[in-house]
Symmetry: C2
Subunit: 406 residues, 2 copies
């Protein structure tokens, strides 16, 4: 309690509105009485809050029954499937994707296109992304939904609490604020009150794992490792992302694993990315990364190639993935010693390659740590960042339901 | 807001009492009006809270003046120097220490004795510690203070949220709950409601740095590296300790820095401790660690020896410390990439050795990271853990002032 937050009546009301919504989101449909029991407020207080949320179109009544409490059946409350929705967008090195998710967490629209974004001019890429967002927004508006904002996943570093991409080496972008270029252009009539988030893809993938990973109970402390071209990671501590001072935490790809090894594009030496990144693995398998990239454009194409060959028993590819697993294990030994996570999760492209990475990764962890944490494989795989983006907008609505927005 | 805390009137009152106390702790002496302005409550509400805290002996009135607001001078409120106090205790490999700190943060009593605790039977060590605590408690009771509890710093892993030392390799202790052995024995008449904390020395050192390090503003995100025999670290994120799932976070000493290097007592390979721990440095300087330990017992004696020789220009010692700095830099490269801290702080014995560690440490960080964070040297040095322990009890009182205790 170093800097306690102000506790006014006004703020209590906002918090309590959020608590009602979260209770219904986590356990719904629920009667008013069941909501009251869950959050420890009186039935009368809850009824007032519920009326407000019904009026704002965030909750709906499903009719009597299903209340779970004895006596007169209450009316069951559910989150609206016509209220606000969150739009997620993803800028990949090889693709653009957009989706919309309603308050219930259902994906209501989705678009993806191949795109050669490496070393690109941001202008055309962002205009194309905005046009995809408009298309998705129109589709969900036709279904009675209101976009409450857009969140964008990028393969790069984003300054904490801002919408500025500080550095996205694989796109070739630096110091670029995405919000002014996207907000008006993409959300049109809803732009003024809409939220606009920009975040690193690994962070959003980790949030998706936290919210949608299907773990019961969800892990509170984990390291989420993912890969597109580079190696990214995100650290979740007590159920929250650890962002770091500038927002750059989670750079597992630049942890030294061979301290006097290969020079890295980051300026460092022997970074994990030089031993477990996509290019390093292709090279270790005797393949020419550039030729493979030309022959296999599009999202996930090189990963599919590697996975396909490994499945067929290609020794060189299996050996390369085995080596990448070992390097991941060395870097994760450092992360586990520093963070003491409950579990390590392999997401993104690493989920697809897990069968050939896991044995050496776990062997390496076991060789260096007594009682290492379990390594799990994400069920969301490459969908994580896009879903995490859309859900982060939905969460913003649930956390502060009556903020002017959308 | 995944799991919002209950917000009842009762809890608001407790929170607001704490906010009044923290306001006076951070900015006092303050008038009631100044407190109200700082925490955003009405003067009337603050007066009621202040009366309660005056009645409980936590606040005192200093007489008119010094209010900082225009108009009729208010009565200045200050924390009491006769109310509850926190007792800190430290179990080192070579010593035991105990101190008492009042609500104002003043050290009111302090005792330290040499002790050969390596490979010791816990019973006699804890009885000796309890007797030191009793002595300090009697001294502060005579000055009108009430011990509100005791916190113990140990050189080992403590299970999160418990008082159990899971492993303290340099003491030779494992799976030992300190609370039942200390509480009654040490605090006597105050035992029933007293708090009893046990924590890793590096964690308490980092908390001391956060609370007492003299940084303005205090850093919110830092890695605090310290050493006694081994290398410990603690990670502060957003002004809070990152503890990890089991409470074992911060094990920088076991981050691999030479992945195929020397075997470590932990079972790992090439851990930092093998290159920057006390024994490793003595050995690298051509000294026999056991002979040096026999010849230089007592807290800090080997560190004094190393610092003395380095000051005199001893090449072997300087080279050994230079190597240790490089190894620290390699391990910290991983930590900085993962955590993106605002700063790295060298504390404990490392603060004393900083003049000879820093150049190579900073060179190594700079070689591997573009724009590395600054490395600062703690002003608290080896006093950190003991002061952090006592202050953690004081903080517990400030955070929940009217809990039955002491």
């Amino acid at each position: 309690m170093a800097a306690p937050a102000p506790t006014t009546q006004q703020e209590m009301r906002r918090r309590n509105l959020a608590r009602v919504l979260h209770a219904v989101a986590d356990g719904g449909p629920l009667s008013r009485a069941a909501v009251a029991a869950r959050i420890g407020l009186t039935r009368t207080a809850v009824s007032t809050l519920v009326d407000e949320l019904l009026g704002a179109g965030l909750l709906v009544e499903l009719g009597p029954g299903r209340s779970g409490t004895p006596g007169r059946p209450g009316t069951a409350l559910a989150l609206s499937d016509r209220g606000p929705c969150g739009i997620g967008a993803e800028i990949g090195v090889d693709h653009l994707a957009v989706c919309a998710v309603d308050l219930r967490g259902e994906v209501r629209a989705r678009l993806a296109v191949d795109a050669a974004n490496r070393g690109s001019d941001p202008g055309p890429v962002l205009r194309r992304l905005a046009s995809l967002v408009r298309e998705v927004a129109e589709e969900v508006r036709a279904a009675g939904l209101r976009p409450a904002g857009v969140a964008v996943a990028v393969p790069g570093l984003v300054a904490r609490g801002t919408t500025t991409v500080v550095q996205a080496p694989n796109l070739g972008w630096a110091d670029l604020d995405l919000a002014p270029r996207l907000r008006e252009d993409a959300l049109g009539p809803d732009a003024e009150d809409a939220v606009c988030f920009v975040d690193n893809e690994a962070n959003l993938g980790a949030l998706a794992e936290l919210w949608l990973g299907g773990h019961t109970p969800p892990p509170e402390d984990f390291v989420h490792v993912s890969a597109e071209i580079g190696i990214g990671a995100a650290i979740v501590v007590d159920g929250e992302l650890l962002r770091g001072t500038r927002g750059f935490a989670g750079e597992l790809g630049h942890v030294p694993v061979r301290p006097e090894g290969r020079p890295c594009a980051c300026g460092g030496i022997g970074c994990l990315e030089q031993y477990a990144g996509e290019e390093a693995v292709l090279r270790a398998a005797g393949l020419d990364p550039r030729a493979v990239a030309d022959g296999h454009p599009g999202p996930g194409a090189r990963i599919d190639l590697l996975a396909g060959r490994a499945e067929e028993g290609d020794h060189a590819v299996r050996r390369a993935l085995n080596g990448a697993g070992t390097a991941l294990g060395t870097a994760l030994t450092g992360a586990v010693n520093l963070l003491d996570p409950q579990t390590v999760v392999l997401g993104g492209a690493l989920a697809r390659l897990a069968p050939w990475l896991l044995p050496s990764l776990e062997r390496e962890l076991g060789r260096r740590i007594a009682g290492p944490p379990p390594v799990a494989v994400s069920r969301l795989g490459p969908d994580g960042p896009l879903l995490g983006a859309a859900h982060s907008v939905v969460r913003a609505v649930l956390d502060d339901p009556l903020a002017r927005r959308g």
